[in-house]
């Protein structure tokens, strides 16, 4: 004998419409994590191991890197992906442990504010950085400052 039940008796919960932020947050963490592995280790390798290694790090080195569009885009990606990745991690921890609604809202608001401020400041620095400030001793600056 076979019995067919038309529809389950348990109530069916259907997701409300709109963007599923938890899903996209999870996907973002996975994708940005993979990209960050390349960006961070590339950053560390170029800064600390290539050429003279860590001894080469000075104002001129940083000035030279930030005048190169390749490194500008690299650093921008690094800044945005890493900061949002970290902020989203802090948000999930807050969701886990801040049982009080008000505390949760305040903490998440603070995380959001800090992230936005740091993203704006960081991006501003990357694209408005002056590698050859006037009146600085030439031996502290990148080679192209005196050449031109």
């Amino acid at each position: 004998m076979t019995t067919t039940i038309e529809s389950p008796r348990a109530p069916r919960t259907v997701r409300r419409g709109g963007v599923n932020w938890e899903k996209w947050g999870w996907i973002y963490m996975r994708v940005s994590g993979v990209v960050l592995v390349v960006l961070i280790f590339g950053h560390l390798f170029v800064n600390l191991m290539l050429g003279d290694g860590v001894k080469a790090l000075d104002f001129a080195f940083v000035g030279g890197k930030l005048s190169n569009p390749f490194w500008q885009i690299w650093d921008t990606l690094l800044l945005w992906l890493a900061l949002i990745h970290g902020a989203n991690g802090m948000r999930t921890i807050t969701n886990d442990y801040a049982h009080n609604r008000l505390v949760g809202v305040v903490l998440k608001g603070a995380i959001l504010a800090a992230t936005v401020v740091l993203l704006i400041l960081g991006t501003l620095v990357i694209y408005t950085f002056d590698p050859c400030p006037a009146g600085s001793p030439a031996d502290l600056l990148a080679s192209f400052c005196t050449a031109g």
């Binding site: 076979t2 067919t4 919960t13 997701r15 599923n20 938890e22 996907i27 999930t92 049982h99």
Partner: protein, 254 residues
Amino acid sequence: MASDVLEKKGPRAHDAVPTFTVTMIVRRFDPEVDEEPRWVDYDLEMHGTDRVLDALHKIKWEIDGSLAFRRSCAHGVCGSDAMRINGRNRLACKTLLKDLDVSQPIYVEALKGLPLEKDLIVDMEPFFDSFRDVQPFLMASSKPKDGKERLQSPEERARFDDTTKCILCAACTSSCPVFWTDGQYFGPAAIVNAHRFIFDSRDEGAQVRMDILNDKEGVWRCRTTFNCTDACPRGIQVTQAIAEVKQAIMRGKP
């Protein structure tokens, strides 16, 4: 004469099993007396073939009859006696004393993350609630062909074989740090049992279950810490099952 021969032929079975003294430290809690749970020591003379469950029986039957714990089949099938042994969730009936370090005391306490009722007994209702929420039953609206049974190939059956092994002991869910935080998360066991039906070719309710788990408290709260896989007494690859459900939700179909 005859008895001499018998004695020479074979020593009695239990002589061969070495005995040793083991200290069990059990986290006791009597809600009618205690404000807080307290650790109580018991020194027991046990055999090498004994399990943690046998030690608990010895305490209950010979030392203190008020010790409360759940056990039914005592052979790793019913899933009643999951508890925290030396800080890890295990079944007391599947953990041999000799596999633990018996030179040190053995700590036994109730599962974490579920309300403690008495001694080693926790309230399992929150656990079963999230199990119910994933609708763990076959949903099929169509009549089977020829009015007999719903056929399935061995490959289709193998797709979800691992997750059919679940005995609902709660060892995985109560080892999950995300479940400990606020108890809102479905927990590994519920997702394992959803997996068992989502990937069943005879079932038609995959979309319903995926909608349920594609929730704020659903699969996305899993942090892939693998505590559940380590805890499972049936060896289910729990974290992998959760990852497969995540992928199915992203694809929109099993």
